[in-house]
Amino acid sequence: MLKYVIKRILISIPLMIAVVLVVFLMLQVLPGNPVSVMMGEKASPDVIERVTEQMGLNDPVWERFIDYLVNAVQGDLGTSYKLSRPISDLIADSFPNTVKLAITSALVSWIIGVFAGIISAIKKDTLLDRFLMGFSLVGISLPVFWGAMLLQFIFGYTLGWLPISGYSTPAHMILPAVILGWTSSGTIARLTRSSLLGIMENDYIRTARAKGLDESLVVVKHGLKNAMIPVVTMMAMQFASLLSGAVITESVFGIGGIGVLMVSAVNTRDMPLLQGSVIFSTMIIIIGNLVADILYSFLDPKIREQ
């Protein structure tokens, strides 16, 4: 078990370095001179040359990459072109907002997803099952920006119950959490349903029923306990993905998180900021998947024994 965990962590390290390398190559090497990209076509060649030299961009690519990597490990992701602040500070400012949104929307997603999945599995092939699975599929298929707008229109403009933009009070979080939670809940609901149905076909479930155990006890004590293993793993991965920044939801509701930071970096052509925030975001996903994997091996007794 411990060996597996260590091995799994060691495998992730080259993956992380590769991710940094991919982002680095895409932003700094492919398009030619990043300074001219950043400053636009109007900048004079002299200025571009001076800035390039200042930023150390005339050094060989490998040297720059190693420098970047060494600094990144120490938490230094460089300085934003446009905002002239350390990128790690900008991330530290916006990350709490992303965390707030991630926690609230994950709660919505998990509550809807798990309940819908369990009810669907118990009431398999009934109208309720079809309705819940339809609801989940619509959630998966929903363009988030549009669903978000619709909620703003109904609950913000028309009914006036909730604020439509910003992130200062808990009430501001309700609409974004609902839309992001709903679109994320579909995967959980479908997985919970299929996992529970798979488990309920096992012999030990039949034994439990034959003992005369109450059906709800059979489902909860024998079924759910095992059916939730893959679901919990999926939840961990989903939470990581929410933590990595909800680009669209944050943009529509004006929540100053990591997602908005990335979009503004694209729009203002702030290369170091885009580079730093994308790397930060992807690291969260890799770590999340790592945690999910370890969690899975820990929860599943069949693997844990090995």
């Binding site: 092939d125 298929s141 707008m149 619709l150 229109f153 993905s241 290369m271 996903i285």
Partner: protein
């Protein structure tokens, strides 16, 4: 639903009998258990999967009305957008500021936008973009993924680990972020999104095809073919690839809606389609500030995306249950 369940049970039964090799539909359930010899004989002789897949899909549509409705809806969407120049009631680019922000009327069924352009006509033209970006990059990325998956699975060794590690790296990125990175480098626009989606999403296909190849490689008929000296290319073409077709059909149907959503999200962020050309995502973005004045024309493009994606997802689910239940997790 019951018939669907029955179909799956039949598939699973067939799978067990044929040793994980399921090509037959429901028609032979009753005598299925007594017919393993027939299945094996079939596996060893020529396989004609195209025909059987066609039959399987036909029987799926017969039993699953939701899938049928979804397929009809998708075909309809494709037809009206392909024939947009004929179907569209107005020129989607002609501005008429005296007619701006009108509600639905006989002249403009879905009203007009900020520049007085007909929303229905713009949606028909915008749909071309959404479908084009949904379908073609999926084909390109799946072709790349299939080729790399075949190579990785069949040749193994170093080349396998190189391809799969590359896939790992790509899959670590959320696709929206990768597309944003690529568009930062190559500039905003549809062509960029087209390229980004084509290049980015091959990894998933490669993984699935590779694992398919790994299990097929152990089959007796492949071993037999290898032992009598059939060339690798021929084995891949005649024995491996045809068996991957059902999986590829399912993957295709499930990848298209993802690409449609990514395109609309990027266009909504202003990174995708650029005005005056249009796409459904861009239309939602352009009209969002007029939501209160003209709710119909603002909400219409979003509903269309939702409908199309739901249809693809329903169809994908049905195809998966029918052709390759193992993809479920």
């Amino acid at each position: 639903m019951n018939s669907k369940k029955l179909n799956r049970a039949a598939d699973l039964a067939a799978e067990k009998i044929a040793g994980g090799f399921s090509m037959e539909g429901t028609d032979w359930i009753p005598e299925g258990a007594t017919q393993p010899a027939k299945v094996e004989a079939e596996a060893e002789s020529e396989i004609a999967p195209d025909e059987t897949i066609g039959e399987q899909i036909k029987s799926m549509f017969k039993h699953n009305k939701l899938a049928l409705v979804s397929a009809i809806l998708i075909v309809l969407f494709i037809l009206v957008t392909v024939f947009a120049p004929i179907v569209a009631p107005h020129d989607p680019y002609v501005q008429d500021l005296t007619q701006r922000l009108q509600g639905p009327s006989a002249e403009h069924l879905l009203g007009t936008d900020n520049y007085g352009r007909d929303v229905l006509s713009r949606m028909l033209y915008g749909g071309r973009v959404s479908l084009l970006v949904g379908i073609f990059p999926t084909i390109i990325s799946m072709t790349i993924g299939t080729a790399l998956g075949l190579i990785a699975g069949f040749y193994g060794g170093k080349i396998d680990s190189i391809i799969m590690r590359l896939a790992d790296v790509l899959m670590a990125f959320p696709s929206l972020l990768l597309a944003m990175l690529i568009s930062y480098t190559l500039g905003n626009g549809l062509l960029t999104i087209f390229m980004a989606l084509s290049v980015v999403s091959w990894a998933g296909t490669a993984r699935v095809v590779r694992s398919e190849v790994l299990s097929l490689r152990e089959k007796e008929y492949v071993e037999a073919a290898t032992s009598i000296g059939v060339k690798r290319g021929t084995i891949i073409r005649r024995h491996i690839l045809p068996n991957c077709v059902p999986t590829l059909i399912v993957l295709f149907t499930m990848n298209v809606p993802g690409n449609i959503l990514t395109e609309s999200s990027l266009s909504f962020l202003g990174i995708g389609a650029q005005p005056p050309s249009t796409s459904w995502g861009l239309m939602v973005y352009e009209s969002k500030q007029y939501l209160q004045m003209t709710p119909v024309s603002t909400l219409a493009p979003g509903i269309t995306i939702l409908l199309l994606v739901v249809a693809f997802n329903f169809l994908g689910d049905a195809l998966r249950d029918k052709l390759d239940p193992s993809l479920k997790n």
